[in-house]
Symmetry: C2
Subunit: 209 residues, 2 copies
Amino acid sequence: MEEKDISQAVVSRLPRYLRYLADLKDEGIERISSQELSKRMHVTASQIRQDLNHFGGFGQQGYGYNVESLYLEIAKILGLDHQHYLVIIGAGNLGQALLNYMNFARRGFIFKGIFDSNPQLHGMKIRDMEVKPMEELKDFICENNIDIAVLTIPKASAVAVTEQLIECKIKAIWNFAHVDLAVPEDVQVENVHLSDSLMKLSYNIRRNR
Amino acid sequence: MEEKDISQAVVSRLPRYLRYLADLKDEGIERISSQELSKRMHVTASQIRQDLNHFGGFGQQGYGYNVESLYLEIAKILGLDHQHYLVIIGAGNLGQALLNYMNFARRGFIFKGIFDSNPQLHGMKIRDMEVKPMEELKDFICENNIDIAVLTIPKASAVAVTEQLIECKIKAIWNFAHVDLAVPEDVQVENVHLSDSLMKLSYNIRRNR
DNA sequence: TAGATTGTTAATCGATTAACAATC
DNA sequence: TAGATTGTTAATCGATTAACAATC
């Protein structure tokens, strides 16, 4: 179960499996074979079986996989059976949008605070949550067991803030700033570089992939 | 120059090269070897040379690469020498945030309109731009030469809207909806599945990668 | 010219796919 | 039991890295 060295390629596919399994549940489908699932997802059945087997034998020969229990297993593998506490750093448009977007809570990702360096924003309420000054960040992270810091600040301040987060022993950074962060290896970073994504699109428009 | 069949793995790395080259320009550095760049970026020099050579011989033996001209070449490869016109579909928090985020324009990505199905939002102004009803979408796309549609609407409506976009011969869809879109192969789709990204982070927190 | 560094071929590594024996 | 489908090993494919001859 607790296999080591699962490649990030495999991990990246897990949320997609989860999504398809949720759909199957909604459709009231109880069991599915790797064959059928592969048709829906447009991946090989081989890949599905390989991916799942990294974490355990969830299927049954001659039967396939039970949708409900596979769903729960993958959710568990992804750590969705635990709650995660988050702070947003940067109360600009993107920070506010993420805070207002309710659906993360459904998955156990709970926003506990939002911070900004701009004094004009302090005390402003977003979804019943007051924007706090950066000076309070460090104490807040410790006192509230924050796991994940969401960086929605400009590139220029991202590096300095990251230093602080490392001192606080933050577990993970969800980075929307357009810069690569240097962190110790026990701090996880997931980058969401929106402009990179847009450039890829622009490339693919030209050379009709 | 116009090589075919460049893998998406390579394309995904181009925006990052561009970013580092921009930094080098800012630092006033004129030339750089693959060796030096590899140290900064934490990738192998081999990979840098391989990647660049897919598109042409931009370097010079014994010298390295000229920062300014390599920057321009990569920008060109990514299609950043052209303007792209975009519409946002879904004037919720995320749609508004993207519209307000100025930096895309710098790269030639110009927002031309924002649409929403909710009549209460129609006429509302976001950055001097009125939210338009969905009924006007199709004509707007044709008349304004829109290349890219940004989908910031819920899963449920995304599929139906995509149908419309395909009829309009949209070139690309930047998809923030939590669903896989089925499109003809001449329509490019780039998915930004935020919750998938967050789940990956959650996974990596547990199994300390 | 000598030194540096590319462009490119060859070797390695890892990820995906195919095949099939195990088994429900 | 016979049929279906997994778990898993082996084969293939593609991407990354190493090596080095070409050349500025």
